[in-house]
């Protein structure tokens, strides 16, 4: 594997760290959720109203308790994942309410789309997880959406998935359902099987909903990404160093709370900081500033000894065009090469998280494959890899196509794209398909041929019974 590269000097890391600690100490963070305030009071932190002022040594000690890496357990143990183990974990986009179709049509996302994206991620060679909230299934009652989503992940694939973080109660539903799948809450407390996304409200706030979610996951020993999205210029300073300090303070405050509740509970340092477009004020994610925040966050996570979440196939484009491609590759590559462990939004995102596109999903997935190969680097482990003998055998002017050495090695040494067109002009011109058109055909055929791994009937019954009971309570 190639080395993850650093973009900050140690001196720069220290500057950010001290600036963030000063923010936490002197400005403080607002927590609206009473149980969270109670936790801080118990730990002798100064609480005034909803504002919590965090002592530097206390924060540093708490961060210390978070594991450097942890395993997320899948229904199929072959799909277990180590988060923070060196590999970038890829998964679908998160939270988009719209679908942008290949012809430019915009429509609301539905549960059918949800199942489709879970299946596409389940079928993918390059995506490690089926993600979470892969789109907002707007046709499902909001009160039970979180359960329908969890059920989709559980039944359509046997990879690791994410659960709801929308308040304590909904988070617990996702955790209970995952416990049913794995054989009880005790089992998943020992072997975390669920991860969720907790977001701060920038600047310097956490709301009730997210704090409830955070507490549910921390209490049950499940993993969580604690992320901040600073929009430099609007919800944060226009200077990137200031915005990074603010993000860092927010994330560390969240991690501190999680470790107070359950020391050693697995957390991921999350960053989605980017900028506001200063013409319109809207979020913009397909830019070098986002790549910088992502890269710096990977490095800060290493400094704090926790895995990092950041980057993805991120773009502001509204359709699957060149902009969608170049922006996405920049953010996916920055995340991967600088050592982000958990790459939420790896596939499908258009227009700053607002939409999912099936075609983009397939294209992004291909990029993930390319980057996996890139990160694997050069294999120099033995003489065969150095290939002196075969170079000697072929000699000057020969060729390597008919060497056993070639046949034995090319499949593992070369990445073979599923989507990129490498034909001649004439070969291509027979159909003249763009990447988007090829991706359109590809996702349709993947869905047509997808077979979900069978789920134990007794487990399925128990899940359905749980959902039925809860649905009656919630609607």
């Amino acid at each position: 594997m190639i080395q993850k590269y650093d973009i900050l000097t140690q001196d720069e890391i220290d500057k950010i760290h001290h600036n963030s600690m000063r923010i936490l100490r002197e400005i403080g963070v607002e927590f609206s959720y009473e149980p969270a305030l109670e936790v801080f009071r118990k730990n002798n932190q100064r609480v005034e109203g909803h504002r919590v002022y965090l002592d530097t040594e206390f924060v540093e000690n708490m961060i210390e308790k978070a594991p450097q890496s942890f395993t997320l357990h899948a229904r199929n143990p072959e799909n277990n994942l180590v988060c923070g183990g060196g590999d970038a974990l890829y998964m679908p986009g998160y939270g988009a309410p719209f679908i942008y179709e290949a012809d430019g049509t915009k429509r609301d996302a539905t549960m059918a789309d949800y199942d489709n994206f879970v299946k596409l991620a389940g079928a993918s060679k390059h995506l490690h997880m089926t993600g979470g909230t892969v789109c907002e299934p707007t046709d499902i009652n909001e009160n039970i959406r979180h359960m329908k989503m969890a059920y989709s992940h559980i039944t359509n694939s046997d990879k690791v998935y994410m659960g709801s973080s929308s308040g304590y109660e909904y988070a617990m539903d996702a955790i209970e359902m995952t416990a049913i799948l794995h054989g009880g809450k005790d089992v998943i407390k020992e072997k975390p099987a669920l991860i969720c996304l907790i977001n701060s409200v920038t600047p310097l706030k956490y709301d009730d909903r997210m704090l409830g979610g955070l507490m549910a996951y921390a209490e049950t020993g499940q993993a969580m990404v604690i992320a901040s999205l600073v929009m430099s210029g609007s919800t944060g300073p226009a200077t990137l160093a200031g915005a990074l300090s603010l993000q860092n303070a927010e994330v560390l405050a969240g991690i501190t709370l999680a470790q107070c509740i359950n020391p050693g509970t697995p957390v991921v340092y999350g960053s989605t900081s980017a900028i506001s477009d200063m013409g319109t004020g809207s979020l913009s994610i397909g830019n070098p500033e986002n790549a910088l925040f992502t890269s710096a966050s990977a490095q800060l996570s290493r400094f704090y000894g926790v895995p990092c979440r950041g980057g993805g196939g991120l773009s502001d484009a509204k359709t699957v065009d060149a902009q969608a491609g170049y922006e996405s590759m920049m953010l996916l590559m920055a995340a991967t090469t600088t050592g982000v462990s958990f790459v939420l939004h790896s596939a499908g995102i258009l227009q700053y998280y607002m939409a999912m596109s099936y075609e983009k999903f397939i294209i992004d997935e291909e990029m993930c494959g390319m980057l996996k190969r890139y990160m694997a680097g050069f294999d120099m482990s033995d003489d065969e890899k150095m290939a002196f003998d075969v170079i000697e055998k072929v000699g000057p002017g020969g060729h390597f196509l008919t060497q056993k050495h070639t046949r034995k090695n090319f499949k593992t040494e070369h990445f073979r794209p599923a989507l990129s067109d490498r034909q001649s002009y004439d070969g291509w011109a027979k159909e003249s398909l763009t990447a988007c058109q090829r991706a359109n055909a590809k996702w349709k055929s993947v869905l047509e041929n997808y077979q979900a791994p069978a789920l134990d009937e007794a487990v399925n019954k128990e899940l359905l019974a749980y959902m039925e009971k809860r649905t009656k309570e919630l609607i």
Binding site: G397, T406, R407, S424, G427
Partner: protein, 215 residues
């Protein structure tokens, strides 16, 4: 496993040494050489060719199979000639003389074309690199080829493709052969300009072209 199946497997494996051994055994045991080609070698190369079209086999597989095929044929050639003489030869899809033109020593593309044509069932006579026009014609006459395929990789050697065709015209044999050309700097227009019967950009297109020309 019959010796035919063994030959087929060895071709699929692209194992030249085993194919040569088996071919020698065919002669030793006085097995019908035509059957050995038709039920062994050709069956193997057809399977590789099909796997390649389906995207399951890759160039090294096809080229090693083609090399193994050529090596086996070389061993069997004398026996096959005898069979041919007594009217019991085997049917190939057409004979093709293939080479790189005068002044040019590039051969990787030509080799790939040769392998894929072999895998498609053509009998390919690859005469090498830096060849004069008469070299192409002599071989074509000798083996009764239907197609002459000339490769050039340099803008400076493309003219040798033109000279080859002019030579065939001068010799009064132009209409006896289909002449096809290819190579990096060549184009459909260049092919038309010099009066070639066809041009292909890639090896798989060259296969399609030959199939079309001999249909």
């Amino acid at each position: 496993m019959s010796i035919f199946d063994e030959l087929k497997e060895a071709i699929i494996e692209g194992d030249e040494d085993v194919v040569v051994e088996l071919a020698e055994k065919v002669i030793e045991d006085q097995v019908d050489p035509v059957a050995a080609v038709q039920n062994g070698l050709i069956k193997g190369i057809e399977e590789v060719g099909k796997a390649w079209i389906d995207g399951e086999a890759f160039l090294p597989d096809v080229m090693m199979a083609a090399d193994a095929m050529s090596a086996g044929m070389k061993v069997l050639e004398p026996e096959l000639a005898k069979a041919q003489a007594s009217g019991e030869g085997y049917e190939d899809k057409g004979k093709i003389v293939l080479g790189t033109v005068a002044g040019d020593i590039h051969d990787i593309g030509k080799n790939i074309v040769g392998a894929l044509l072999t895998a498609a069932g053509f009998k390919v006579y690859d005469i090498g690199i830096d060849l004069q026009a008469e070299d192409f014609l002599n071989k074509a006459k000798e083996v009764d080829a239907k197609i002459i395929a000339a490769s050039a990789l340099l803008t400076t050697t493309m003219k040798s493709q033109k000279e080859l065709i002019e030579f065939l015209v001068e010799q009064g044999v132009r209409d006896q052969y289909k002449v096809i050309i290819g190579g990096g700097p060549t184009s459909l227009k260049w092919g038309e300009d010099i009066g070639a019967d066809g041009w292909a950009e890639t090896a798989d297109e060259a296969v399609e072209l030959c199939q079309k020309l001999l249909a």
